[in-house]
Symmetry: C2
Subunit: 124 residues, 2 copies
DNA sequence: CCGGATCCCGGTCGATACTG
DNA sequence: CAGTATCGACCGGGATCCGG
């Protein structure tokens, strides 16, 4: 009968949600999709380094979670468009800040890595 | 000689940084570590579902990236303490907002999943 | 041709056991 | 207590095939 420490992190459910939204490709896709509607190939072109398989998987997950809408046009060649839902646009707010942090602090992280490596080589 | 579209997402470097900071366990560790210093076992206890291996790996990565400080006390039993650096505390700001979003919108995501599943079964 | 499904392979993750 | 070692399971990436 231990008292439950209700810190946010000791909850399995939160981990489960974080596992979906704090994924590298999820962050990239939601940030890229921001605002406007985009085609599959357009997303693939813009998001550097993503494989078509992972883009498909990520978009399916986002659709399942109600963050993205998928619209198929029965034309040839096929045309499939993706856009954020309301929930997706709300998620985009914290994700964009994360992306901004990444851009702003990249150099500091790289510098820290250099210091770490250098420190290691002097200690040994 | 194609013109470079300098949208944030088409930069490999940003993907590389995002890959490190938008990782499930990284988010959990930084959020848990917020403010105060913690021991290895304390982190392991608080972060639900993390394995000792992934905690070690994640902490090593965070140390390498200059986000966390690792302090070893030469006592027996061993005592190793971890705390956020200045850079880590700055990263914590967007990460906590992401965690907050996860908590606030969990139900909406679960509801969306139900709708998705239901829709699938009716279409078929 | 576009969007995506499938197969194979290599790397990563997790559980368990062991050590200073 | 705070890790390392090991091994099987799973996941991501690339190549290839396919349906409209």
């Amino acid at each position: 009968m231990k008292p439950i420490q209700h810190t946010q992190s000791s909850c399995r459910p939160v981990v489960e949600i974080l596992d979906r939204i704090s994924d590298k490709w999820t962050v990239m896709v939601v940030n890229q999709l921001g605002g406007r509607t985009m085609r599959f190939s357009e997303l693939k072109r813009e998001i550097d380094g993503i494989s078509q398989k992972m883009l498909t998987t990520t978009l399916r997950g986002l659709e399942y979670d109600g963050l993205v809408t998928r619209t198929v046009y029965a034309v040839v060649p096929p045309r499939v468009e993706y856009s954020l839902t309301d929930l997706g646009r709300e998620l985009q707010v914290p994700l964009m800040e994360l992306g901004k942090w990444a851009i702003d602090n990249r150099d500091r992280m790289l510098a820290a890595r250099d210091r770490f490596t250098e420190r290691e080589s002097t200690v040994r």
